[in-house]
Symmetry: C2
Subunit: 333 residues, 2 copies
């Protein structure tokens, strides 16, 4: 047996999660059986979608269980292998985060190349959030080179890649975020054409001022007022990729939909399309081939907000939902 620690779900959050909804627990992890790996997690991911799994409702992923460890993306090194494809010291990406030691089926572990980028990048710009931005922009929104793009949550792991991909293809790109630090990063380092802080005024006025000529594509990480504003600024035949609705995740009642939705969708012939990244893993290779070199060569930048220590993982998650991260929120285990 190997001594480990893990974070369990102690209670299902009502509204915004509180520290008491989580519990740090000592755990014993057995040695690997054939086909298993024992992995020492080095970094783990906190992602907005995890909030939905904390509710006891049917969704595209099953809910987290009470008094059991949480799960999610993590990268670490193999410390004991019972599968010939993996040796000790190998870096792997897997889905058993929120713990120090993980017993991972070899089939569920993906080797990663630490020479392409630091391993933690495989939780962000080169991982599921990056793939989400790539698939959402190209496959879901049907973005064409040069179209004007608006992305909300633009300083997050997904949004910051969406904006940079569109900039590299000659687009006018506008992004929204919730702090001066985020806006400065978007404008000065990532080259966004226009940015706004959604806390400053009504979203539709801010967007209208930032993109007076309108937009063709809206990549929605936020929902709510942001979507309503985008509907007003979209050109005829505009498309919306709905990736998430972080503004609603802590809601305890059904949030109202955007006003004027149906007449606007009809009049402008808009398309709104939701997607879940787990349906699109077949695009992972194309994504890595295209975006990997751009990251390696510095043509695409990324940032991480790193929280130290497994015991602070709940704080990292709560902070993520409050927008306290710039770029990918990662916990160094």
């Amino acid at each position: 047996m190997n001594q480990s620690r893990e974070i369990q779900l102690a209670a299902r959050p009502h509204g915004e999660p509180k520290p008491e909804d989580f519990r740090l627990v000592e755990a014993e992890v057995p040695d690997p059986e054939p086909g298993q790996l024992l992995v020492r997690n080095r970094w783990m991911s906190v992602d907005p979608y995890m909030r939905g799994r904390m509710n006891d409702v049917k969704s595209y992923v099953p809910p987290f269980q009470l008094d059991a460890p949480l799960e999610g993306g993590a990268v670490g090194q193999v410390v004991a292998s019972a599968d010939e494809r993996f040796g000790e010291g190998q870096w792997v990406l897997h889905q058993l985060g929120w713990r120090e030691l993980a017993l991972v089926p070899a089939a569920a572990a993906q080797p990663i190349d630490p020479d392409l980028a630091p391993p933690s990048a495989f939780l962000g710009v080169l991982g599921m959030p990056g793939l989400t931005g790539y698939v959402g922009l190209f496959d879901i929104a049907g973005y064409q080179d040069g179209e004007a793009v608006f992305v909300s949550g633009a300083a997050g792991a997904v949004g910051s890649l969406v904006g940079q991909l569109a900039k590299l293809r000659g687009s006018f790109v506008v992004g929204s975020a919730g702090s001066a630090e985020k806006l400065a990063w978007l404008k000065e380092e990532l080259g966004f054409d226009a940015v706004f802080n959604y806390k400053d005024d009504a979203c539709h006025r801010l967007l209208r001022a930032a993109a007076p000529d309108g937009i063709d594509v809206y990549f929605d990480n936020v929902g709510g007022e942001h979507l309503e504003a985008a509907l007003g600024s979209l050109h005829d035949r505009g498309r919306v990729a709905l990736c998430g609705a972080i503004s609603t995740y802590n809601a305890t009642e059904l949030p109202p939909g955007p006003r004027g939705l149906e007449p606007t969708i009809v009049r402008k012939r808009l398309t709104l399309k939701g997607f879940i990244i787990t349906d699109h893993f077949h695009r992972l290779q194309a994504f890595h081939q295209e975006v990997g070199p751009l990251v390696r060569d510095g043509l695409i930048s990324y940032r991480e907000t790193i929280v130290e220590g497994l015991d602070h993982a709940p704080d990292a998650f709560i902070g993520l939902l409050r927008g306290e991260n710039v770029g990918k929120m990662v916990v160094e285990v």
Copy 2:
């Protein structure tokens, strides 16, 4: 000069149109110049989209002008022709309704075949409303044979065709309407599997009871509560064709959007797509080839609510927005 009468827009309606917003006027119509036809209108169409043109706002069709005759689909016979392609007595479909005599550019007149169906049918099941149902179901919603379909405004000219097309292809079809007479027609004559009166209860409860196994496609003529209900009943990867939002046309403020919209679209990977039929006239031939014989052979039924007399055209239009029609609302000029 030829004596005629026409209906003019006397005032832009605020909310529900009133009779005083319209005016019956004597008019003189000149004889046709080369390339023109003088047409005596026999039937004219009133359609929900006309309400939008009565507002002075930019939209996909320009607004109607005050103190000028209204426009819209009409069928009639040529009484004087200055174009060699048309002879006297020829039945034509054109866009200068709301008047007795119309001076129509020959290029804007479409010959119709009265042996295929009575001429008034070219304003409904074989006209723009029919094409709207056909394009919306197949091209916009991407309907596949056998998928479960919900259509609102099901007893209207568009909805009644949508439901019958899906029934002919083996689908479970549920329709909503606002009177017992309409429901009886849908159920007993058109073969809908389930129907409900949306005035009876909350729409989401009525739909859930009518289609307990859920739906794959929603054809939306109504918007509002109907759309919210459909979002709740759609299966994963369901599609919504947004054709119109008659529940909002008389609204004087932006109507609230469906609650829970964004999380539902994401979780179920839904697609919502608006369309305007004028973008899809290239499908007219395919539509006539497929649906024309079905109508001729009685495999598709249709009904008309005929209002007599041009002077009652405003009442017909007001009644249409109140849902007083079963099938296509037509004015016999």
